[in-house]
């Protein structure tokens, strides 16, 4: 047993942190957030493409870096720390991952090099309005090479040229691949809770599409969602940790009653609790990352646990960040709301914490109580 990342993996993370510190300060996020027209930061997108991150787990002969998922989750953590205003999570963890997992050779040849180079942005269309997405009740139809239906909200859709669309085929849910250009797809931007990341409504009207490999089926789609949940979870841990660090610094520098507010137990205990919550989530993440990287069947439980824990840790960090900053935390000028917004946006993006908790119990029940390893 060894629960640590290797030196090589840590080096990848270190490189990522340095690159993002230089190229993705919080001002870069803020610029997109405040812009009426920008949907992302194109320079940063180009930069992360050149770093090889968009194709981190894509094989080298398809234009990728040929790294493993243990490297990718560490890059994800750094992306999360920086609040990078780019459609990284949707394009990499969902669209690229889906094509890698389920695409046929022709689809891989056609799309993976373009996704890895950043020339094309991918998105993933699952939800169809209010509530938690549920594969069984997806109404969008995929028949005879045509998609029909409405997807809302679609995360990171603004810049996307291709979408992986969860739809109903003749025998249940399938993944369809559709290009988003052309008159058969109508894209309408929605106001986003985090304006540094976009949301849209996509209406497919006899839109040409192809089935992704022979993939699909509820079980395969669940696996894709589990895998994406782990990678997104690391972004959330990164965001939570950065929010925590900024808040800690602030409380050390802010004086009241003649001493730093970080010296009051009321503040110290809040920070200690937040820290513990983040670390508990992170530990679940290490387990999930191991399961992801080895294809271990534990992924089904680990992804649920980690995703719920990471979502809540980041949300809590955003809330505590504002509270412990006091009045200035509520101003537009301070960066607290950037974290507060991103946390909620990411939580909603793949199913909320309560949805993952429900999924966790379903899977534990399927396993049988006697077989549950409860950490004895």
């Amino acid at each position: 047993m060894n629960l640590e990342f290797s030196e090589d993996q840590k080096f990848v993370q270190h490189t990522a942190r340095e690159f993002l510190a230089k190229n993705a300060g919080l001002d870069v996020c803020r610029k997109v957030l405040e812009s009426k027209t920008a949907t992302s930061d194109p320079g940063l997108w180009k930069g992360v493409a050149e770093m090889g991150w968009l194709g981190a787990v894509v094989p080298e002969d398809l234009g990728g870096a040929g790294l493993g998922h243990l490297e990718l989750v560490l890059i994800a953590e750094e992306i999360g720390r920086s609040l990078a205003p780019i459609p990284f999570s949707t394009s990499v963890y969902l669209a690229t991952e889906a094509i890698l997992l389920f695409g046929n050779d022709a689809q891989k040849q056609q799309w993976l090099p373009r996704l890895a180079s950043g020339e094309v942005v991918g998105t993933f269309a699952l939800a169809e309005g209010a509530g938690e997405p549920d594969l069984a009740s997806v109404a969008t139809r995929f028949e005879n090479g045509k998609l029909n239906g409405t997807k809302l909200p679609v995360f990171d859709a603004a810049d996307a040229g291709v979408a992986i669309v969860v739809s109903q085929g003749a025998q249940g849910p399938v993944l369809a691949l559709a290009e988003l250009a052309g008159k058969h797809v109508e894209k309408t931007a929605l106001e986003s809770f985090d304006p540094s990341r976009t949301l849209a409504k996509l209406v497919f009207c006899d839109a040409p599409a192809e089935r992704l490999g022979d993939g699909g089926g509820a079980a395969a789609i669940e696996t894709l969602l589990d895998r994406a949940a782990v990678m997104t979870g690391f972004e959330q841990i990164g965001g939570a940790t950065r929010a925590f660090e900024i808040t800690r610094e602030f409380t050390l520098g802010r004086y009241a009653f003649g001493r730093p507010i970080a010296s009051f137990q009321a503040v110290k205990h809040r920070l200690a609790e937040l820290y513990a919550q983040i670390e508990i989530a992170r530990s679940n993440g290490y387990y999930a990352a191991w399961a992801l990287s080895t294809g271990n069947e534990e992924l089904a439980l680990a992804a649920c646990s980690f995703r719920a824990a990471a979502s809540e840790a980041f949300e809590k960090a955003g809330e505590e960040m504002i509270q412990l900053h006091g009045g200035v935390g509520f101003t537009w000028e301070y960066d607290c709301h950037l974290f507060y917004r991103r946390a909620k946006w990411l939580s909603a993006s793949l199913g909320t914490p309560s949805a993952w908790r429900e999924k966790l119990i379903q899977r534990l029940e399927a396993k049988g109580a006697a077989l549950v390893d409860d950490g004895e």
């Binding site: 640590e4 399961a291 646990s305 966790l360």
Partner: protein, 415 residues
């Protein structure tokens, strides 16, 4: 990153398992492990625990991480964890050595003279003698350095007077490790001296404390003119705080997660067996949400522990993650017990092994877990430790730190 046994760990696990199968009864998966929080063990149980320990010692399965010269096996912490995981699956006597082996042995190895190490450590490992810790006092709990049990030098002896409290297992212990105040003119942390005491010596009186759960795992220990030879001093005169810190650092590792870890499975069984509105409670979405939350925190604690072990096993100081186990685990245990009793509805009020589900496990746990949240550092003290030592936030303002001890005001409220 690998959560599975290495080939060496797997081989060790198989070897441990084979030895256990030969020497103990495997507990069936559906049998509930006994709840040992604060029971007053009978002499018979203590003797069985001692004999089990000596058997392990004789056959090479005791104090695995200790050096071989002190009766250990010189193995890593990971092997010790593997052993612990396997032993827990068997019906074996309670472990009465958590304090001796987890905290006191390592303290003697760190601060003792060669003579002391030779005399005590190996014998402690063998287990026929049991050790207890004599730290807390009625007026010195969280503020341990405020202790006032006195040690006065008299010839080659020290004479100890005062009262200790919350000493686990003192009633069946042969030796104790005590922190005393040897100088009331020095500031509070500088006037302390640490000793090994014979619990059978004249003037030592052990009285059980009746706990809220009816058990009596803890004791008060009174010292009346107890003579301790200077040869039993551990560390220098006035250096007791430094020695005590070694014990306390090991305590946090030893107590670890405590509380709720390892009880999720039982809670899941309860939720399946209990009805709510005519249907199994587990079909209720509020119940499912709570269960998931408990599972996530339990597993998070387990993996956090593994992270600490990974760091320790490559020789690094345990990271910050080492400090959060008890702070998170202790309240979790209480929350789980409370929730389990709520699941039982009106039966939650029944504490009758014949009637209450799962042999009244949760009633007992709810009465026992408040103690876990206090022993070995309260939730609040642990948060201070995380805040100050891990997060490097400013320490508490201490108005008593630099004054001679005898000038520090005191006060206490009796219930």
């Amino acid at each position: 990153m690998n959560f599975e046994d290495t080939p060496q760990e797997a081989a060790f696990r198989a070897k441990a398992r084979a030895w256990l199968e030969k020497n103990a009864r495997l507990r069936p998966a559906d049998e509930i492990a006994p709840n040992l929080l604060g029971e007053r063990e009978s002499a018979d149980v203590i003797q069985r625990a001692k004999d089990w320990q000596t058997k392990k010692f004789d056959e090479g399965w005791a104090v695995l991480t200790w050096p071989t010269e002190y009766g250990g096996q010189g193995l890593g912490r990971l092997e010790a964890v593997v052993w612990g995981q396997e032993e827990a699956k068997f019906d074996v006597p309670p472990n009465i050595y958590a304090i001796g082996h987890g905290m006191l042995g390592p303290t003697i190895m760190a601060h003792g003279s060669d003579e002391q190490k030779q005399k005590y450590v190996r014998e402690m490992a063998r287990g026929q003698v049991v050790w207890c810790q004599l730290f807390s006092e009625p007026d010195a709990g969280s503020d341990l350095a405020g202790l006032r049990t006195s040690a006065v030098k008299d010839g080659n002896d020290w004479v100890i007077n005062g009262q200790k409290i919350w000493s686990t297992g003192a009633h069946f212990s042969d030796y104790g490790m005590i922190v005393t105040r040897s100088d009331t003119n020095a500031p509070k942390h500088a006037g302390l001296t640490y000793f090994i005491v014979d619990m059978h010596a004249k003037g030592v009186e052990v009285r059980p404390i009746k706990q809220i759960n009816g058990g009596s795992g803890f004791n008060e220990v009174f010292f009346s003119d107890v003579r301790v030879p200077d040869a039993n001093r551990l560390g220098g005169v006035g250096d007791g705080w430094r020695v005590a810190i070694t014990t306390l650092m090991n305590e946090r590792v030893a107590i670890g997660a405590g509380g709720g870890a390892g009880r999720f499975k039982d809670l899941l069984k309860l939720a399946r067996a209990t009805k709510r509105g005519g249907r199994p409670a587990i079909e209720d979405s509020a119940v499912r949400q709570k269960l998931a939350d408990f599972y996530i925190r339990s597993k998070g604690l387990q993996f956090t522990g593994y992270r600490t072990l990974s760091a320790l096993s490559r020789g690094a100081t345990p990271g910050p993650e080492g400090s959060i186990g008890k702070a998170v685990g202790a309240p979790l245990g209480q929350e789980m017990a409370s929730f389990a009793m709520e699941l039982q509805g009106v039966l939650g009020a029944v504490n009758d092994r014949g009637v209450s589900p799962q042999d009244a496990l949760w009633q007992e746990m709810y009465l026992g877990t408040p103690g876990i949240r206090i022993a070995g550092g309260t939730d609040e003290i642990l948060k201070n430790i995380i805040a100050e030592r891990v997060l490097r936030l400013p320490p508490e303002i201490r108005v008593d730190k630099d004054r001679p001890f005898r000038e520090i005001p005191t006060g206490s409220v009796k219930g």
